[in-house]
Symmetry: C2
Subunit: 424 residues, 2 copies
Amino acid sequence: MSILENQDLAQYCLETALRAKEASALLALVSGAQKNSWLRESAKRLRAAEKEIIAANALDLAAAPQFGLTPAEVDRLKLDGKRIEGIASGLEQIAMLEDPIGRVIESTVRPNGLDIQKVRVPLGVVFFIYESRPNVTADAAAICVKSGNAVILRGGKEAAHSSRAIVEVMQDAALDYDIPPSAVQLVNTADRAAVGHFLKLNQYIDVAIPRGGEGLIRRVADEATMPVIKHFNGNCHVYVDRDADLDMAMSITVNSKCHRYGVCNAAESLVVHQDVADQFLPAIGAALIERGVEIRGDSTTQSLILKAKTATDEDFAAEYLGPIISVKVVESLDAAIRHINLYSSKHTESIITRNLAAAREFASRIDSSAVMINASTRFNDGGEFGLGAEIGISTDKFHARGPCGLEALTSYKYVVYGDGQIRS
Amino acid sequence: MSILENQDLAQYCLETALRAKEASALLALVSGAQKNSWLRESAKRLRAAEKEIIAANALDLAAAPQFGLTPAEVDRLKLDGKRIEGIASGLEQIAMLEDPIGRVIESTVRPNGLDIQKVRVPLGVVFFIYESRPNVTADAAAICVKSGNAVILRGGKEAAHSSRAIVEVMQDAALDYDIPPSAVQLVNTADRAAVGHFLKLNQYIDVAIPRGGEGLIRRVADEATMPVIKHFNGNCHVYVDRDADLDMAMSITVNSKCHRYGVCNAAESLVVHQDVADQFLPAIGAALIERGVEIRGDSTTQSLILKAKTATDEDFAAEYLGPIISVKVVESLDAAIRHINLYSSKHTESIITRNLAAAREFASRIDSSAVMINASTRFNDGGEFGLGAEIGISTDKFHARGPCGLEALTSYKYVVYGDGQIRS
């Protein structure tokens, strides 16, 4: 790329960010009703534009071989009438969520009569970088604007035509409801350098949200000059306590591990109290092996599950995203908690126990975004938590943790009503 | 510095951070009552150690000339019986604040019976870098530990002996209440390179909080690999609307500008609606000039206040922290909001108006941590807001905005109670 082209790219990114910032100021004047009408109108128009969207998608499908997509990836990329209906009804569901903006979160009246209200406000401009299916384009645009933010969408090049078709429909619908069309902008170039330019513009962009592989997230976290909501990996644990209902432990372990392998809230490690290991491990070993899961355990595990391989330190730290599980036998609840806090990625951990004190200790000492008590790790999810929609699952502690719905895209300001108060 | 010394320093910082991380895990087991007892015991012991603390402070005062401290800075550094009593009673007040940790912020029971609780938890380890009076050492230690965090305190070298004496008293008291003494650590070296080492340790430190001059804050923001709660400058505005009570506007403008000059919530700029400029500007001009305030205004201002100098763009952007104010006359509320959003540092802005629609529009469109309606900008303060104690005033939107009390030092986790639920 020539220097001139690079300057053009930097200029394009700057102008995109400036337009987003302007749109974000205008969004302060837009009511919840306008935003919801826009979402419903977008849904209607997406359905009406089914033919055009499928035609755009066909261009992406035709280009898929040149990007080296696997058949599974091609399948996820493909749009048909049913999937477009899914996207449209997703927008209608987001329209039905309660509007977080302008809500008074807390309020106090001070002795001097000042009425202090802590009011929820948008963050401003969101830069969303993702490597996903075209439906994420519509979802992310809807979640960001519903929470009062302008969004710059940087989707994968594999879905460029599909995403463009969806965004154009939503931008056209915006005009009917006085939503600034630049509230939703799709980055217009596949050049990877564009991401770097945007990540420097912290004067205009309030948060960067990468969603995709660890490489992408690490790059964004390293280069960003603005805050980042990160979704790193999920090395999730199931701990079977001495006081566990072992039937429940079986069903929750199998569900946490085998319900879906390639997801961040799948269990990657099983921790078992030594007092129930003799009884539990042979049974769960058989159940997992029957489902094609490879077991890698410590020496006690290997003595109780004959087919188990040896687990290394790397195994205990691994997010397999596949049919493998590491197994560790511990002598106490305390040892289980220490092991988990050492190796977990602070995503989701589950304890199976009937013992209230054990449940409470596990819940208070485990340092993860979600602690499940007698439930599958697979429930750590915006939909399952009732948030309605999520833009990702944060493994950070700062600002937003766990499933990030509308509220994760907001901040607050203090609005203080007085009648002439001055400080003495 | 030799390479060996630098390695020693890096090792010292790493060990300090590791001890803090361990202490933070142990703090999960400490009850609110223990923390409060520790704070009250620390207060008692600080009073009892008055003589030793004053002796340590004398060493700092003796070294003050070599650090080039001004007489005002020496005065702020000086500890006497009254100031030590102030520090002690500050700790007792923090002990009386409600404990934020473990509170259920929100909860839902899902249709499948899962009981989902969003529970407030500590952030973990706080790295606090400050250039302030010795009382900040005690305050910061108390606020961090009360909110369940371990803290690494990096104070100014000017107060090194005083801070050490205070921290030793608090560490000794910690032993009596099973608070890990490493919950409060004071960095043991004046070497500025130590800050750089700590800012790399994002594996152990969850947030960095710089408090001091803009140079310090910018350095920390640039170098930190963990999130930062920043407190940049305050270019605060008072806007006198067409519908203002002009007597109230006088008193609030004078208070916002003149109550204290060197503070971040002092007004640095006055914006006046043109319909009241003829009446208001000569009067406020006389009042400010009488108090020794220099006025820098636009052409209309200069025609109404004869002693006013010309305001440049730099003036409208300036945080003077002294007896100067910039003045701008605008043709509408919209122009006032645009001017303020363009030049303000997003700290505090005040509108004086009797008009409800104007107040609501100003509150919703002004993008600052606090919007005052008919009240002085000087009220944007943790104490005045009833937060009890503050570790700073954040000009960020992410995580914490405005005065940061205990809650700003917390995160949350989801604790989910089930009875065997699995995902189907």
